[in-house]
Symmetry: D2
Amino acid sequence: MHTDFAHLQKRLPAWLEESRQLAEHGKVAGYIPGLARAPLRRLGISLHSITGEQLAAGECGAAFTLQSISKVFSLLLALMDRGEQGVFEKVGMEPTGDDFNSMLKLELVEPGKPFNPLINAGAIAVASLIRGDGPAEKSARLLDLIRTVAGDATIGWNEEVYRSESATAHRNRSLAYFLKDNAVLDDEVEPTLEVYFRQCAIEVNCGQLARMGLVLASGGKDPRSGSELIPRRYVQIAKTFMITCGMYNASGEFAIQVGIPAKSGVSGGILALVPGELGIGLVGPALNDKGNSVAGVHLLQTLSRQYDWSMF
Amino acid sequence: MHTDFAHLQKRLPAWLEESRQLAEHGKVAGYIPGLARAPLRRLGISLHSITGEQLAAGECGAAFTLQSISKVFSLLLALMDRGEQGVFEKVGMEPTGDDFNSMLKLELVEPGKPFNPLINAGAIAVASLIRGDGPAEKSARLLDLIRTVAGDATIGWNEEVYRSESATAHRNRSLAYFLKDNAVLDDEVEPTLEVYFRQCAIEVNCGQLARMGLVLASGGKDPRSGSELIPRRYVQIAKTFMITCGMYNASGEFAIQVGIPAKSGVSGGILALVPGELGIGLVGPALNDKGNSVAGVHLLQTLSRQYDWSMF
Amino acid sequence: MHTDFAHLQKRLPAWLEESRQLAEHGKVAGYIPGLARAPLRRLGISLHSITGEQLAAGECGAAFTLQSISKVFSLLLALMDRGEQGVFEKVGMEPTGDDFNSMLKLELVEPGKPFNPLINAGAIAVASLIRGDGPAEKSARLLDLIRTVAGDATIGWNEEVYRSESATAHRNRSLAYFLKDNAVLDDEVEPTLEVYFRQCAIEVNCGQLARMGLVLASGGKDPRSGSELIPRRYVQIAKTFMITCGMYNASGEFAIQVGIPAKSGVSGGILALVPGELGIGLVGPALNDKGNSVAGVHLLQTLSRQYDWSMF
Amino acid sequence: MHTDFAHLQKRLPAWLEESRQLAEHGKVAGYIPGLARAPLRRLGISLHSITGEQLAAGECGAAFTLQSISKVFSLLLALMDRGEQGVFEKVGMEPTGDDFNSMLKLELVEPGKPFNPLINAGAIAVASLIRGDGPAEKSARLLDLIRTVAGDATIGWNEEVYRSESATAHRNRSLAYFLKDNAVLDDEVEPTLEVYFRQCAIEVNCGQLARMGLVLASGGKDPRSGSELIPRRYVQIAKTFMITCGMYNASGEFAIQVGIPAKSGVSGGILALVPGELGIGLVGPALNDKGNSVAGVHLLQTLSRQYDWSMF
């Protein structure tokens, strides 16, 4: 175990305030009201250790939507539902270097399947692989998984955000029809997108997110009971994607500078983990130009350097 | 007048049969039954001269859908409805070198407006500019224009083709949502696409198409009465686009090898014209790899060389 | 004949001054001193009619280098040396919609040959097709053609510009090695580039350029003697490319707004012509963001509208 | 320590023979004779453990050139010479999803610096950062580092391969001039490429490569003496890039399927390591369509699954 919790407890508030200053250089996502209302300078972090310790600092109680962070769990559920082969015949394993909503590689690289499950095109393809009788059941099954992993049955959807996403998501519809044209989607576009928009609108706080990270850090086991919630191999796959593609097209830089599996969302949330050690939930709505929480990335980098978290 | 009609009448059947041989190297569009049923070796041509002469050869009576040829007339109607400025703030004037359904330049080149009105993205944007209270009225107004230009009030839509296009057009939906996301479309996607799919499904024969070409060759005037059907400047714009972008991404080659304004469709139809002289309607469903009638292009090249048709 | 020379003579100075105002919105090419020294507000135009009339206005005596305008004549010489087949197996016929020095389509579209002879990659390929024992002879043969067409044996190279181009042309070297890798160039890179840089550095004035345009407007014939300087078919090919690709990736817009064959250069020169009627030489060093003379394009548009020059 | 060496010793020959069968589905690089001569079915592997054990199987004594594997060590030397900031102002940290010799992102993504140091463009930029008075000294310094890390002062260049690479590397020259144009290269192109071609031509065998891997697995320390050969932070950076970009545009898949830092070369060599445990050197000249040793990747996947090597 790298991290000295007593030391961390003392230093965390100051580090957080230092990182919070960077929020001024970022921008809150403004394309829907449910995101645009978030305070620019909000910054909260929660850390859960495998030995049962918990720490928090900043605005930790604030609720925010998972957005792209949900892609990790839809991937896990699709893997549980379809197996590796079933998932990877529809979506690839490669980072792209392009924007999360880019269509370039879909058009340029045969056979037009999404490069990985963490870009939007890939996540839409993954959403279509979740089993269930219609979008309501699929969405409910994914929410169930997230409740289980977060250890909190009260987690739900933010209906306003769901409706706003659905109303404004022209680019995601464009991606989905492109996939449909390439025969990557077997389902119809709108029911698939309903699942996708619902998963983006699942609402959590930092503590719940830290617990979700801790389950991944534990290789898929319930941190208390030790029982398997998600097969270890699928967690391994998810953690690998979090390193190679988790932070949009700044994933490579994050791997060099922080070096731990992480997934960000446009709400400013970041799910991160130190394998075998820590789950981390963070929110900081001010985004940098790659779409990651500017203060959040800075804080994780500070912690990683301080406690030598890099896996590499 | 370059073309000796007496000479042409004698030679045309042999030239047509020679070009027909090339159909073996092409393929009939197979994505919907209404196109796939067309005979591979069908080839028909009709020529109407400004002096009132008419010639035809091959399977000229066969009906086929306009498909992309309709883009010329939706552009003309949008220009009549909105003026040059109204149209060109939504769609550009440049050839692309890309496939007709490509999204590359929409993503790569700011501000994401379609490069020209004859690629699919541009034609969808143009369809949204036609005035009318809903898609039915817009479609009816475009059909009216085409009936007027063709001088035949019996022209209508092929309902089967319309329904098939609408059911399978995932790529066009993808393009339309991309445009919506870029604020190029003010209307909703589905009503806009209804206009677009309907225009593609307008059914003509070679004679009607030749008459349409003759109106363009006459600068927009009714060839008999001399009255203006379309303002001359808009016809000039249309003819320019037919040279620079009319034959998909083989437009440059067609300009070099044939040198006259033309627009092709996936049905194998080609609308062409010799300015001030001739309107030409042609159908040959076997397409080359750029999507143009392989026999039709060959026949036009033969005629252009024989009678020195090139504008250049 | 559309153009009333007496009327034009009276009005031209005022139109030129009006267009000159636009120079403020452009920028003189600054990458080499030989270009950067040109005055921003310089504007000169010369018109030669097929009936022997000549008109000039503005700073017509100023010398400037042909730059990309030379691509028209290297294409003509390569066609005379190799025939259509010999040229078009190395370079295509399609406009690209990309920047003149783009490598995108070379990488993305098989088999990696340049899309047309008027983008840099295509012009480098064309330069390699000119016959001659080494770059000096090739360059001399091209200069000879230009002297003949301009009717002026005193035309030569600007050695300073040649040396500067050669010293700074990293992007063109990059393009040339890319072509070499794709087996489009049979010659070595540096001797080919020497020919290319020399052709760009040929120095003319507006009157000489107008005479060059007049030869093209006459279908390749000497406007005085009527003897053939360039085969008519090759001139036809050149004029077609000038319409589809002559004004960089604003060629489509120029075709719509002006409608005559033209080729621009980074020196602010424009060679244009009204087929069967006029040759035009123009210089205006202030360039718009597409690389064309901002005042020059405006002046040509004024004249085209006034005298109905559009071919379409 | 995951790997049971006694068990491995017994099973390795059979696993190697099984993987060797896959060589039939690959192709030996044929662009220069020095690579083309390598036997298609060659397969050799050497493993050095941190506890001093060594194992080998197959054709382990065969010499082969490092090719792209050298990029790891030129990066390390450049980091030692210039520091992180000095390197990363010239080259990025992101995987691309494109071919190793692609120019797309250089043209499309501002400001045109290479996305990472393991694609060709990035490695050329890195080569220019190595300190030394001219290419000979730079090359000698890099060879020295490799000799030190391999623990073998007899390692040298394959002069024939060096000369062939230099003679045929039109695409790399194209990349280098593109970088020069973008001001990424401060040095001249040819001296920079001399360093780059020389590093590619360094000749090793599997045992030497395994020793190089072991130094990286040890965080930069000499495995015997424990003295620091390379600063630990720079080794961390190198290992991170090996995960995100080490196996061309199959790096993501390799991370999912094998999960250890690795770097492949067009000679069929692969340098790999299990952090804190093992260095691995491997050669199998038959390449898959991504450019990686087809048998080698299969063998590493077998071993990783057997001994649970994945870092994730």
